[in-house]
Structure formats: C-alpha cells, structure tokens
Point group: C2
Chain length 418, copies 2
C-alpha cells in the first residue's frame, strides 16, 4: 500500500468513526476519558519502556539536552497526562447546545445547534503529552482525531495511542476515532493535508517552520498561529508600580512561551520616571533590554534596538523597549510589528482603556493584567487545543467549543414558501 | 505596473481602509448605505448606459438569451439593488456586541467582543446586483471589500462600484473600503488569491467551476458551497397531503436554485400510497421523475434512475426518487450522496423527527417544512452573503454576523500570573 493509500484509508476510517462519536452521550465520552486516564497510569511501565527508545535514539543522534528533556515521560508527566484527561472529562460538553431559537412570521421555528466538526488532524512536534491532551479534547467534543507527532517521539506517541485505542475497543467504540500516524515516511503529512473530503480541520502545533509548512501545503482549513509578539503599553496615566509588576510578570514568569511580553511601549510623559525603574527591575531578573534612541536617553546602558528587534519573538530573557508619543503611536507600532496575539495597556485613564480595547485588533486585548493570562485555561475556556491568530472560525485561545460548529434546525408544521 | 503589483496595492489600500471601517458607528454606516441606495436610483440613466455596453458585447458574442437577461439592469432591478441596501441599513449592526463576559477566580473579567473580519474578497459571476448586495453587507459589518465580477458584466459592475465609491468620498470615508477589480486580465483573480497577509476571507459566488477554481488556488480562507443536492425524506408516519405540499414546493417553486429538492426518499411503508399521489402532482407541474427499481413498481412510467442521478444537482424540473426501508437507509443515502446543504423529514413521529435533527449532518435540517426556506433571509438572518457547506467558521446560510469574528477582552486591576 502506498503512503497515499494508507493515509486515505486511515482518514476514511476516521470519517466513519466520526459519525459514531458525534452521537455519543456526554456520559459515555466522560467514561472513555476517565478510563483512558486510568490506563495511562496503570501502564506507566510500558510507556516508560517505549519512551526510553526515543530517548536513546535522541541521545545517539546528539540531540541537545533541553530537547531530550522535553521528550522524557517521567512518572510525574504521565500522571499529568492522566489528570489532563480527567479535567477534560469534567468540562461541560459543547455538543448539542442550542445557541438560540426564534420564530419566523410564517410560524417556522429556527435554531442553531452545536455539532462536532468531524475529523480533526493534529500535526505536532516533540512533547508526547500532546498526544493525550489533543485526543482528549477532540473526543470530548465528539470528533475523530488523527495524530501525527514528530519522528523523535514516535515510540512514545505510538504507545500512548495504543493504550487510548485499547480503551475505545474495550468499550465497543470505533478505534478509528483515534489514530496515531506511525509511518516514519515524511510524505505522510503531505498526503494527509490533501484529504479535504475526509478531514475537516488541521491544527499544527510546534515551531514556525512546521506551521508554515502545514499552512502552505494544506487543502484542508488550518487554524494556526505563527508567533506571539506581545506588547505591553504603559500609558501616561498608568500606576507605575502596577506597570512594573505586570511587565515583570509578562516578561520573566515564563519567557519561553507565546504569551510572554516581547516589546514594551512607554508613553513619553512617564518615560523619565518609569524607564529607570523598570530597567532596574528587569536587570535584577536577568533581562537584557534593547531600546530605541529615546529610551536610551533615560537608560543609557541599554543596547540599541534595531528595526529587526521590533519583529522579534525572543522567547528568552530579552525585551525590546520603545518610547511612544501617545496612543496613536503605540497603536501604529502594534499594527506594524505585532502578530495579532495579545496586547496589554496599563492605565488608569478610562477613555484610554476603552479606546485600546476597541481599536487594537489583536485576538486578546487586556487592560491592567499580565499577557501571561492569554491562554485557554487562564481565560476560563477549560483546556486549550491551540491559539489562532487568523480570524476565521476562532481568534485567540481555543477551547472545546472551537472544535465544534453549528447547524441550523428548522421545526415546521407543513409550511411552504410562497 | 504588473497585475501582481496592481492587486497588491489594491489589497494594501483595502487593509488600511478596513481600520477605518472597523471603528465607524452604526449611524455613519447606515447613512453610507442609504446614500448609496439614493445614488443608484438617481444615476439610473448612467447605469443603464453602461449596462448596455455589456449587453451589446454579450449579444455580439452570441450569449444565450437567458444569460443576457440575467445581465440586464432594468429600472426595476436598479430599484431592487437600492432597496437591498436600505434593508441592510435597517439590520442590527453585529460589530461591538459582547457575546458573554465572566469573572475568573483571580478577579479578571474576560469577555468576547465581536469585530469585523477585515478585508473580504468576493469573486462572482454574471448578475451585476451582487456588486451592490455584497458591498452593502461587507460595509455594514465594518469590513473593506474587494469585488471581482465576471468580465461579461465589467461595465455594469464598474459603474455600480464608481457610484458607491463616490458616496464614500462625499462622506470623507476611504474609497479603498470598496474596490471593484476592473482589469480584464484573468490572472488578477489568481494574484488576489495569494494575498493572505492583506485579505482575510474569500467568498466565491457562481457555478461549481468558478468555486473549484477559487478553492484550489486560494491561500486565503475560502467559504463556499459547491452545490445543493437537497433531500426530502417522507417517513412512514408522514401526513401524506403535507408531504405532497412540501415536496411540490421544494421542487417546483423555483427549481433553479441550490435549496430546491433534488432527491425524494420515501419510506417503503407509504410508497404504495404516496408514490402514485406525488407522481401525479409532479406530472401536473411538468416534473420528470427518475426512480429506483422499487419506486418504478408503483409508478411504472417513471424513467429508471442511474447511480449518477443520486449525485445530481439538476437545477431543473427533474426529480430523483428512491424507496428506502427506514430511517437508517435514508440517513445512509443522504450521507453518501448529499452535499451537506439542506435535508427535510416529513413525519408526525416525534422520535423520528428528533433522530433526524440529531443524526443528519447537513448545514440545515428541517422537520415538516420546504427546503426552499434554507436561505438567510427566510431563516431570519436578514440578508445573505452566501451559504457554506464546509464546517469551519460558518455552516449553512451566512448573514452579517458571519462576516465578523470575536476577540477576547480582559479587564484587570493589576493581576499577574503566579
């Protein structure tokens, strides 16, 4: 069988299984998830044995220690996957919700009812826990899922997938509702991305390179975000101690993630006071600052920022700093260099806060809070399947509801159109 | 300037104009639409003069009379365009709606606020009224719009676009918020479809060929439907007089549109009674029937249906007829041959109605009503920009709300993440 035929068969099986998943009750779906959690913990030894194969191969290939660490399935991480599935089981089921129903003048009732998307493909890298996390969210929302992780985690992903599938089988549910692509052939992804009649959505999770590859090669709709160049704008009317706390948290609490702050914009009226204050705080936290010319007047030891710095997602203890002469300049900077991810204003000026919320186009806009809250869990969506910085279907962090769509239901009593 | 540069400039101008449109008040947008309506009527003579150029060119090329008719701008059709814009002005503005706001345990308030998509491209054929209709919906929802009609209507579309643009200019609004692509170069569409950084959504409207071309060549998200193979399933528990009324309306009231019925499925228990009844009614209405073997036992003069008939969107007075042995078979038929557009069950059996609404996957599912109600206006969405039979973003008829997305807004009081 060619890779194309293999992927087509797998996707057609998934499509058939999706019919069954779409009509499962929440009770059954929750039982599936709880059983999966229990089995992951019960089969810890198997998981660690298979994981060891990936770890050894990675070390033999000379993979960097930090990367090898991300690959490892410790007992704690296995418990983490299991707990993740239990949390998803506890979330409300979005399927079946009627989001509105109204009566037309001719007496027909029209409503919209939430249904699963169908078949979802997840293309991801590195951390094997994504296998269980993504599967849990897709199954809870009534979808079938096709999982394709990185080749470096293939034994771990296969082992997790096998355990989860066995739970499906033991409950007389279609095992094709959850499939892990195990072929090491790299064309498998390219072939999958062509199957627009079988797969409804592709979510790539990983580095910008992977995401661009998927976006450029897919005929299936893709929900994605390339990067998070998040801004914090300290307004003239900011409480400067609050601004310091928020900026510090946004930059250093976890610098390697997409909702960390990358650029600080400071209103010129508070630059003389705030810049030396934040520079000292950032320095204590080990953050390297790169400033515009104006900013360097107040903090001369700052490195000069280049044009490239404004576009940069450092994912590191580095911060670009720019003085702006007001709201207008801050907005223009964000518009030109931003990534539509998350932007924050720190201000006590009511009008400035409203204007920021209205005029800034990013998927998450905040007043007086750390950009680090920009994820599904923190915003109250439950768990997060990803973040979208394109506007179609979802914009911002995505939860269970974003894995569904709505169909129209019409209740008539014999009406015809005149 | 190459076609690529021309399209890029146009799209970048649109993106800039979209910023302005996004923040216009409903009052201003409604005034724009009402002024546009007035100007279309005031400049009827200009429109008819330009339209005549298209009509003459079409006749000179030997275009079929029915097609030439679709192209014509009569005084009545010009009034129709103007009234369409007035209706859109009267619809509620979806922009700015907060669709929910909740408090997190740490005290931050999280909400979702409706915003325009940005820049929308409409690629369409034939009827010049689409120029005004689509522009009205895009502008009301705060978007900029790029319109590319067929070359056969180029003078009419340009004239309409020019009149609408003059209204923008007279109100000191950016005319780039509404642009008609007038170059006759066919590569213009291909170039437009590459501009994913400038254009947020493409909606193709026209025949299946145009839609496939757009879907296959676009790097921008496309919302589309290829065809409407709509089914009516007459259940064993149907009121057969109601079934006749609904089927007749669904097939003959306007056979050339996508929500007309193409295939009739009849439960075997009522086939002996219903098939001769509906066959007689359809014959009186001039409908040709093509039946399965079983159906032809009851109505022998029916032509035999081939496998191809089940896939067919006739858009004509032809109906495929099949006898099924129950709900399961009806569902399987719809799943295999349907287009996810609209399906109807006629029944008085409560359980059957609920099962149909739940298990049929199409974008619109109806009980005891004609499939002809499956459009945005009839379902109460106001006007309709198109229909989607793919599940991402929108599924089914699309109104103003479908031209928007939602961003997250977060109101804090200095919260940081621990």
């Amino acid at each position: 069988m060619s890779v194309y035929e293999e992927m087509l068969t797998l996707a057609e099986d998934a499509k058939e299984a999706a019919q069954v998943m779409a009509n499962l009750s929440s009770g059954v779906k929750n039982e599936v998830l709880l059983n999966m959690a229990a089995q992951l913990e019960a089969q810890q030894a198997v998981l660690q044995r298979e994981n060891l194969k990936d770890l050894e191969a990675a070390r033999a290939r000379g993979m960097a220690a930090a990367m090898v660490d991300r690959l490892e399935l410790t007992p704690e991480r296995i418990r983490g996957m299991a707990d993740g599935l239990r949390e998803v089981a506890a979330l409300p089921d979005p399927v079946g919700e009627v989001t509105g129903m109204w009566l037309r003048p001719n007496g027909i009732q029209v409503g919209r009812r939430r249904i699963p998307l169908g078949v979802i493909g997840i293309i991801y890298e590195s951390r094997p826990n994504v296998t269980a996390d993504a599967a849990g969210l897709c199954l809870k929302s009534g979808n079938a899922v096709i999982l394709r992780g990185g080749s470096e985690a293939i034994h771990s992903n296969s082992a997790i997938g096998h355990i989860l599938q066995q739970v499906m089988v033991s409950m007389q549910l279609p095992q094709a509702a959850l499939q892990v692509v195990t072929t090491s052939d790299r064309t498998a992804v390219t072939e999958l991305l062509k199957l627009e009649d079988q797969i409804d959505l592709i979510i790539p999770r990983g580095g910008e390179g992977l995401i661009r590859f998927v976006a450029e090669n897919s005929r299936i709709p893709v929900i994605k975000h390339y990067k998070g160049v998040c801004h914090t704008y300290v307004d003239a009317a900011a409480d400067l101690q609050m601004a310091e706390d928020i900026c510090l948290n946004a930059k250093v609490q976890r610098p390697g993630v997409c909702n960390a702050m990358e650029t600080l914009l400071v209103h010129q009226d508070v630059a003389a006071e705030f810049l030396p204050q934040i520079a000292a705080a950032m320095q204590r936290a080990g953050v390297e600052l790169r400033g515009c010319e104006e900013a360097r007047k107040y903090v001369p030891k700052m490195k000069p920022a280049t044009e490239e710095d404004w576009y940069e997602e450092y994912l590191d203890l580095i911060l670009a700093v720019r003085v702006v002469n007001g709201f207008e300049s801050a907005r223009e900077h964000i518009q030109q260099y931003g990534s539509l991810h998350t932007e924050v204003i720190v201000t006590n000026d009511y009008m400035a806060s409203q204007r920021f919320l209205r005029e800034i186009n990013s998927s998450v806009v905040m007043v007086n809070a750390s950009s680090r809250f920009s994820d599904g869990n923190q915003l109250g969506l439950g768990a997060e399947i990803g973040i979208s910085t394109t506007k179609l279907h979802s914009f911002g962090p995505m939860g269970l509801e974003d894995l569904t769509t709505r169909k129209f239901v019409v209740l008539g009593e014999g009406q015809v159109r005149s």
